[in-house]
Subunit: 200 residues, 2 copies
DNA sequence: TCAAAACGTTAACAAAAGATAAGGAATTTA
DNA sequence: TAAATTCCTTATCTTTTGTTAACGTTTTGA
């Protein structure tokens, strides 16, 4: 895919968050970069400040954390989703996660610098604030749901929920990543699956 | 406390998120309501759309969820914090949580209607988008940290973290609320406390 | 002020999850 | 294509958590 095709996809998806007219889009597009990450390479690494927000046009990434030498995969992003070490991006502090491409991945990239410039741009500023607000609100809701599932549900219930919503994760991610995403060990998820099979 | 005093506090705290000049503040203040909730009364209830964002100037609230007849307290808000059933507020769908005042609580209230009006107001719109963005980003980071703690930490580690950061929660909330906040039962938290005492 | 309710701890038992290891299937890669 | 690696399951054992109940203390509220 080339930059222009990627921008086309991005422009379409962007409509979920902000409505840019032709003039605004042209200025906006000038601030967009295009990037590719080879499988197993990194979008972000711990100890480094994440200065970009990516929008995945092709591929997928996982967010993971190393604890006691073990990789714990906490989240994923797929096509048409944003990817960033948000806390690091927003605070300017070093991140704590790896974000790794799970396959060859192509993205539209908005650097922090570009974003700042657009926010300060009288033509685009308002729309960029709106864009930022809506994206943050969107992810806020995702996180709210996820926190809620940890507080009020058992691991088995969380897994059944995941099955019910049939998210992409199930098809595209190995089970041990899903286990950590649910907050449990791969062995435990395997047992839960067994339990469900027998019970039904 | 009267409305004016409350607005004074709010205006000061607002600076964390947006910088309003005198003219902007005057228009903004016209859209603010003032409210009081008696202890044990509700700011939000499940099945009802939450159409306000509150800013607590005095008191505190807890967010809880009823599961199998039991109340599970997932979160709290204190003075100088916002309170809302965000997902419901943002989506316009009925909420799933109770938000209950833990003591007589006073708040500045921004209704959804007021917020929409301000966002559409040419004088205030830009600043309101910025305000909304920054508040959402702030809470996004809080949630990101919390999700991360569920994925990568044991309940004991989460409790030790809470002790280390010495949050208001510890002083002001009964232990069984804290337990649910950590994603465990009150009995289990009591045991964790015992373990920590013996080990150290 | 006095009864009721709420709170934290502890105990006992059941259920679930973590840790470790082994084995086989599938996938990767050299 | 053969060897290595990854992945999932299963088993065993340990640790932790959930559940229920009892008890004493504190707080609440009628």
């Amino acid at each position: 895919m080339d930059k222009l095709a990627a921008q086309g996809i991005f422009r379409e998806q962007l409509k979920k968050f902000v409505d840019l007219n032709e003039a605004e889009w042209i200025v906006f597009a000038q601030h967009l970069d295009f990037g590719a990450i080879k499988k197993k390479k990194f979008f972000a690494q711990p100890g480094t400040v994440c200065r970009e927000i990516g929008f995945i046009v092709k591929g997928s990434v996982r967010y993971y954390h190393v604890k006691d030498g073990e990789e714990i995969t906490g989240y994923f992003s797929f096509e048409n989703e944003f990817v960033s070490s948000y806390k690091s991006y927003l605070t300017g502090l070093p991140g704590t996660n790896y974000i790794q491409a799970l396959e060859d991945t192509e993205l539209i990239i908005i650097t922090h610098k570009s974003m700042e410039a657009m926010l300060a741009n009288p033509v685009l500023g308002y729309k960029m604030e709106q864009f930022g607000r809506r994206v943050a609100e969107y992810y806020l809701i995702c996180y709210e749901d996820r926190v809620s599932s940890f507080v009020t549900k058992t691991p088995e219930e969380r897994y059944l929920d995941l099955l019910a919503t049939g998210r992409e994760i199930l098809q595209r991610m190995p089970q041990h990543y899903i286990a950590h995403f649910l907050g449990i060990t791969p062995v435990s998820l395997s047992r839960i699956r067994r339990r469900i099979l027998i019970e039904k």
